[in-house]
Subunit: 123 residues, 2 copies
């Protein structure tokens, strides 16, 4: 049985904190399209999408899922990502919207966030 | 100057609680498209969109805006709508995503919510 949309989003947010890039990318269909944040060039396919998450791999990071809304195979999720490196803490709080295919893979992800949703602090 | 996306969303959520249908519809461009919730038929234009809000007009209602994310002219907002009528309280907590045109009018709105986000209680 295909993974349920809510489970996929929960898994996604968990893996953004704990997973290797390969595990995150594996949630996406092979020809998936990502726009993160909205307004930046689209990334199409596993390799291009992987670059987005590879940047996180060597950072201390955690995520917290705030809310998930499911409308059929389309979902919206509000969460927070905190990363720490070189004495800086970055806090990003987007709303990601995703569409899943019948196999439970993400075929598109678009991230709503702007400068107001990104905080950098020295620690 | 065109209204800013964040102001439009704040105004929208406020008017869903307090406004006549005409004031809500006026936030939309004339050829706007609404899908609420996602998966239901699209409503195109002021008249079709107005039907959605007219259903609220005679209800006691309030809204609370939880969070707004702005990415250029595209926004996502998490909020709660509570209505009371005939001894029933309905609580709906969607995430709405909207795209605005250069004039600051909403050209599309899509609402992410499902059965888990709608509660009915007798009071």
């Amino acid at each position: 049985m295909a993974a349920q949309p809510r489970d996929v989003v929960e898994q996604y947010v968990k893996l953004v904190a704990t997973g290797p890039t390969s595990a995150i990318v594996d949630l996406y269909a092979e020809d998936a399209v990502v726009e993160d944040p909205i307004g930046t060039p689209e990334r199409r396919g596993h390799e291009a999408i992987g670059e987005l998450y590879k940047a996180l791999e060597n950072l201390e990071r955690e995520t917290e899922l705030h809310t998930v809304k499911v409308a059929g195979n389309q979902v919206a999720a509000s969460f927070t990502l905190v990363t720490v490196s070189n004495g800086h803490r970055m806090t990003l709080s987007p709303i990601d919207v995703m569409e899943l295919n019948d196999a439970g893979k993400i075929i598109s992800m678009r991230a709503y966030w702007g400068p107001d949703d990104l905080k950098m602090e020295q620690i």
